[in-house]
Symmetry: none
């Protein structure tokens, strides 16, 4: 999202065709839904979008960067946030919304594919770190910090640890191919997170 890749430094994104841009993201989304992350090659996405391969490579350095953007579009932060004044309620909202999105569309497949890609493509790893981890963490961390301020959590509660726990368990559930993430899982996550320290 941040367009920080060196090789795109000179590009002027305002010149990019909005139409093509959307066609590419749409095609990428559709391809994953239809045939899975691996089969959603740059070549296939380009063909489906009615676009030259170069047009994709012009704006994204690799498949991972493209799909970080697709993921971000599918999982808008706004949809996960809520101000409830109550930690459990806020986490419940965030996670239920997230899992709903995972169940509705290909976002989970994309996340899993990106994690896989990241293992041997440093560029992909960086794209993920920047696009998914850094930005998204606050969605969980912030409510916890607020809760401490409000006195709903002990002062020494380890927010980072709780946050890692939640993300780790979600990743594990997706990666190990167990049942999809459901609302029961939300309660388990919240329960475990709140117990994790303090």
């Amino acid at each position: 999202m941040a367009m920080t890749q060196r090789r795109l430094a000179g590009r002027r994104p305002e010149r990019r065709s909005q139409e093509k841009y959307e066609a590419i993201l749409d095609a990428a989304t559709a391809m994953v839904s239809a045939r899975g992350y691996r089969a959603a090659t740059v070549e296939a996405v380009a063909a489906r979008a009615g676009v030259g391969k170069q047009t994709i490579y012009r704006w994204w350095p690799n498949k991972a960067a493209l799909y970080v953007e697709v993921y971000a579009a599918l999982v808008p932060a706004a949809r996960l946030q809520v101000e409830a004044g109550d930690l459990t309620a806020e986490l419940r909202h965030c996670l239920r919304q997230l899992f709903q999105i995972y169940r509705e569309g290909p976002a989970a497949s994309i996340l899993v594919g990106l994690i896989a890609d990241a293992q041997d493509e440093p560029a992909a790893a960086e794209a993920i770190r920047q696009g998914l981890i850094v930005g998204r963490r606050a969605l969980l961390l912030e409510p916890m910090r607020q809760a401490i301020k409000r006195g709903q959590l002990p002062e020494d509660f380890d927010c980072e640890r709780a946050c890692d726990l939640i993300v780790a368990l979600i990743w594990y559930r997706l990666l190990s191919g167990q049942r999809g993430p459901d609302d029961d899982f939300v309660e388990t996550l919240i329960d475990m997170a709140l117990r994790s320290s303090g």
Copy 2:
């Protein structure tokens, strides 16, 4: 270790050359160490082992199955087990040994590569589930169950949940490319596992 693949039923594994078999596992291990999991293609492993590609495909259905076996050899269950009569001591021993192995050699890279492969190759997924999850889980579960029997853990302690938590956090640490697994992490894991329910 050998002969778990159903599809090789008709073959006569006794005819497999023990020498070549070891050469292949050694080459596979060396390749991952030297160039990483992705670059350790079947082609490259065969070349390094001085073996035809077909010889690998004859005995393993795919790269993942081969590396499940390499992983199992690198992380022998025996090295992780200990009978201490104390849950914390047993978990500490198991996890410290595991992390030591991860730090010494390519086992962690292999695990991560396998997880990645599993995402779009059902065969790889199955190989992992059979080879890594099913068998390995007992190493954590058993000590916990014993601890319940000994009264060191409450009756209603959720061993599965605690076990998932440990594995999930290990995977997350490896996959997210944070710092390697160290002895501090062992203590964190034990602490979190023991808090996770009850």
Copy 3:
């Protein structure tokens, strides 16, 4: 020199910037000298001239047409003509001058590139025929015809045949990548041309 392209009839060439026009020809010349005819793509010439690609395509239908013009500028007819009253002297002057030009700059590379391009681009073939053959032939034919009139050559001397012979041998020497055209070659050409019929 300008405005021979029929297809530009509707344009008003007087609006073409003389400055840009020369910058393009200069860049085209420089590119061939520096990197050869093939590498002197329209894209590269435009970049070197500090000009948009479209500006080139606006005034020349294709690369060949552009280089016919560059060639014509590098090999001005005036430099090859002389009125000596003696066929051998006139041919010698013409050919020596031509070879000197070939040795000095990229004209030979351009000629060879154009011949190559002409083989599968009818447009290039036509550009060559119009720009190089039709106009240039007279430089050799005229002196021969004068020589016949002066009685220095037999009445039945086949000027066309002699002319073809000279051009063919020059092309062959350039195309076959043998030694460059030198003054010895001039004498060979004249000798062979004068023997070719009669």
Copy 4:
């Protein structure tokens, strides 16, 4: 034909599939006939031959090398040679046969394409020099040398020059896109060659 390219040094041509080899040469021939030399891309030839691209690149370093071999197959030296005891008869036979082949199939197109390719691909240039010039020259030179021995040509007749003249005029006729090579042209060539020195 000589398989002297460095990068093929390690290959063992006896392992090449004769069937595929012929399919490739056939497809290459057919492609030139059907769509011309330029359009006969390696990709298109591979597709038409029902072969992977790699299979072509495995045995030929580039398109030019492939087509040198196609040309050699289309214009077998045996078909051009004859022992007549008479120079004119031998040259006439050679050239008439050659032109017949040019008129029948795509050999001329290939020659022209190769000459064009040679201008900016040193590899192609070398393939041509080795495959076409070095080997083929003897077909013209030998009869001339025999004629000198038999006293049918003066001792000081310059065979090289005569040979260059013939080849140059053939190339020129093909390259300049004039009328195809016919039997009249054979007589012109012989006449000019015999006059060219001595």
